[in-house]
Amino acid sequence: MKFIFCYLLLACIVFSETAPQYSVIDIPPPPTKFKNIQIDGLTFLPNGKLVVCLPSGEIFFRDNKGEKWELFAEGLHNPLGVLALSNSELIVTQRPELTRIRDLDGDGKADDYEVVTDQFGMSGNYHEFNFTPVRDTQGNYFFALGTGSSGDGVRSITRGTFNEKGRPGRMHSSAPYRGCIMKFTPDGKTIPYSYGHRTPNGLGFDLKGNLFVTDNQGDWVGSSKLFHVQQDRFYGHAASLAWKPGFNEVPIDSPVEKLAKLRTRACVVFPHGTMANSPTEVLAISKNANFGPFTGQLLVGEMNKPRIVRVMLENVDGELQGACVPFIDGSPLGRGCNRMAWAPDGSLFVGQTKHTWAGGQGIQQVSWNGKMPFEIQKMELTEDGFQFTFTQPVNREKAQKKETWPFFRYFFEYRKAYGSPRSAEEKVEVNNIHISKNAKVVKIRLTELKPWHIHEVNIQELTSQNGHTLSNNYIAYTLNRLLKNTPPEPLQIKKPKK
């Protein structure tokens, strides 16, 4: 059975590349004296200057002409994200802190490094990264704490109350709140906001103010994910439950059924190997972005492939869910796309990193030439299938063929072991295809819609009415809920072998 499906998948042509309407150029890197130009934080000042953070602990500004770099701050400990509050004031997540960095005397160089909060722990394990500060409209800050790795242990002196319950496991949480999204309120409180994160390398808001974070495939994470972050929820990685009030067990010894019932599903799963293996920052396509007809959707970077994924979400039955599609894909885009920001001209700046994992280094600029690409503009759930909206009218003859739409569905198991195979993978037959009058909307009725399964399709050889090939034809929709009458969530667990 499995063999047959593998064969079918291979038979489908995966066609994915950056649409010709988008161009990618390299930006000359800052003159760091540490000889590596990995970019771990990237934003723009109100005055339009580009800001980048490097693993060396340096922060550089680049002038608007793009000719000169200025060293603004240095000596930081693995800064992994930066927000600009003004032209002389930054908020940075570095390993030990959320830090406010200011230039008080106006000489263009930072002279004050103030703790915003350090009310979280550090075991000293290298994997305890402190990712991406974001700020909501009420002035709350959020940042994301990575778990420790069994690739190493803990230091001789650790910061914060050591908790042995969180220590066992592949990825651990022995120091306070590792594996949590943290919230720092304007009145000075630091609280664990959500639990169950593994390597949450990248927070971001959508244009409606919903908070999202990605996670990387691994233990308890069958395939990489995008979560809609809501207070006190648990998103699946067990270790950080050691810090959840009322949870008194050793998290990884807790029955997997119990953990499965506690967890909130991802709004988007990035299928491992085909979509993303190591997703990074979430960036909404803002109204100021000059990036095509995708305003309001999300961009998510990917470390392993030269790829930026586009995510489209909808509210179904009270929860967000949706689809992901490769967008900026393949060379000349580099690997390791880690941090992204909109430049004043509406183009996208991307910083790349690797930190010994797959990835790259450098800064690139992605620009849209204003002409309409041929892309899937959105994919939405219907009562009995999916509705695709394209950016250009499609060739009716090709779109009308059932062979154009080879759907598959499967799920990833929830389990302690690293990753998960695709489980219960099956082809889903197309029942009926309806093309709108303007030929931009195609409704696909499927013979069956199975909730709590990923539905993916490699749209075959579809062209526009002008004869252009669809630039990115692989799309995966995380179908958790149906429009109505969603059956109860199945556990989809794998019990550990005794």
């Binding site: 000889k35 400990h77 030990p96 550090m122 002196i157």
Partner: protein, 383 residues
């Protein structure tokens, strides 16, 4: 932040120059040994046993750079070599200046001695070889690349790389401006600082417990060639020197810095919530310190932390003659303050205010707590 190469001063005995022919091998080696061990000569860096110094000065004893490479050795001594090199598989990063004060004959004696000392078995070098090289070599100081391009390793010695790419330029240097890094340091919580001051005094300050941990001066600043700045951030920084001041803490015993650099423990020795011996006591408060940040004052770090309602600042600079570090404290609002220092046989501790007892307890009145300074100096530098 700038580095400036330390001027290399060579002092050596001026002996009667001997253009002597027909000396026996023993005689040549005896002369070479004498010149090698002359005051301020080769021995000052490469040591009497030819073992060099960890991280900066490569060994000559058993060095794989000497094998089949007399022309290379002559070139290094005539023109110098600056940059990162690998010797016997170990990394070194420093500069050897051109040996301008030795004539051809003396250099030949020295190199012959090095070639045959400590178990080395390389040829005797004669002054004509040196003279010819002096005439023909380009004038510039060699880099590892330019040197090895001209004098590559012989294939039979199976050497591939004679150099490496450092992630951080920690060449032996004179510190002219303060350098501040937050990084993992041995013997501190994971929220640590490593700071270098003019006068080449280096210290570790621990933001996890708001306290100075230790101060050293010899052996250079943290050696970050463990890829700290390009890897996943795992390495704990290392340094070669021995601290002349190490703050007392009852929660660590006699662990070495190597032991305290371990990252693979199952459990910590203790966590900062259990830290009990904060070295500052303010009258009427028993609170634990909270770290607030630091400000740069002419580039020097002024740490800021609170103890209950009190805010303490601690500005750490070198003293006027660069013989030690000066910690200037302010307490606001002012209050009677006790500072527990750690006098040792390697350092002297003094204060410009208050009453310092031999056990290191410094009593500061409320009035004095407005501002007071503590000077810590290594004993051999303190005259």
């Amino acid at each position: 932040m700038t580095f400036r190469s330390k001027p290399f001063i060579l002092v050596f005995f001026l002996t009667t120059s001997g253009h002597l022919f027909g000396l026996s091998k023993e005689e040549i080696l005896r002369k070479g040994k004498e010149l090698y061990n002359g005051a301020g000569s080769c021995v000052a860096c490469h040591m009497p046993d030819g073992m060099g110094q960890k991280g900066t000065i490569p060994p000559l004893a058993g060095s794989d750079w000497l094998k089949g490479g007399s022309a290379r050795s002559i070139a290094i001594s005539l023109r110098g070599l600056a940059g990162p090199i690998k010797v016997n598989g170990k990394q070194f990063y420093s500069a050897m200046p051109p040996q301008l004060l030795f004539d051809d004959q003396k250099l030949a004696y020295i190199l012959s001695y090095v070639n045959n000392a400590w178990g080395n078995k390389e040829p005797i070098i004669d002054k004509e070889q040196v003279a010819q090289a002096r005439k023909e070599l380009p004038q510039d100081v060699f880099t590892p690349e330019s040197l090895l391009k001209r004098f590559p390793f012989d294939k039979k010695y199976n050497r591939k790389n004679g150099t490496f790419t450092p992630t951080y330029d920690d060449m032996v240097s004179e510190i002219t401006d303060p350098i501040i890094y937050r990084t993992f340091m041995p013997g501190a919580s994971p929220a640590a600082f490593a700071v270098a001051l003019p006068g080449n005094h280096y210290f570790c300050w621990d933001a996890g417990e708001c306290r100075l941990r230790y101060v050293w001066t010899k052996g250079g600043f943290i050696r970050a060639n463990q890829n700290h700045w390009s890897s996943n951030g795992k390495p704990v920084a290392q340094f070669n020197g021995v601290p002349y001041y190490r703050a007392r803490t009852t929660q660590l015993n006699d662990q070495t810095f190597d032991e305290l650099s371990r990252t693979n423990n199952q459990k910590p020795i203790y966590d900062t919530s259990e830290a009990t011996d904060f070295p500052i006591t303010l009258k009427g408060t028993r609170e634990v310190p909270t770290y607030l940040g630091y400000r740069l004052v002419n580039g020097f770090p002024k740490f800021r932390y609170s103890l209950g309602k009190y805010v303490i600042t601690e500005l750490i600079r070198h003293n006027a003659n660069k013989s030690g570090i000066q910690r200037t404290f302010t307490v606001s609002p002012t209050v009677q303050t006790t500072l527990h220092l750690t006098p040792t046989s390697q350092s002297t501790v003094s204060s410009n205010r208050g009453n310092l007892s031999p056990d290191g307890t410094l009593l500061i009145t409320a009035e004095e707590s407005n501002e007071f300074s503590v000077l810590i100096q290594p004993r051999e530098e303190a005259n």
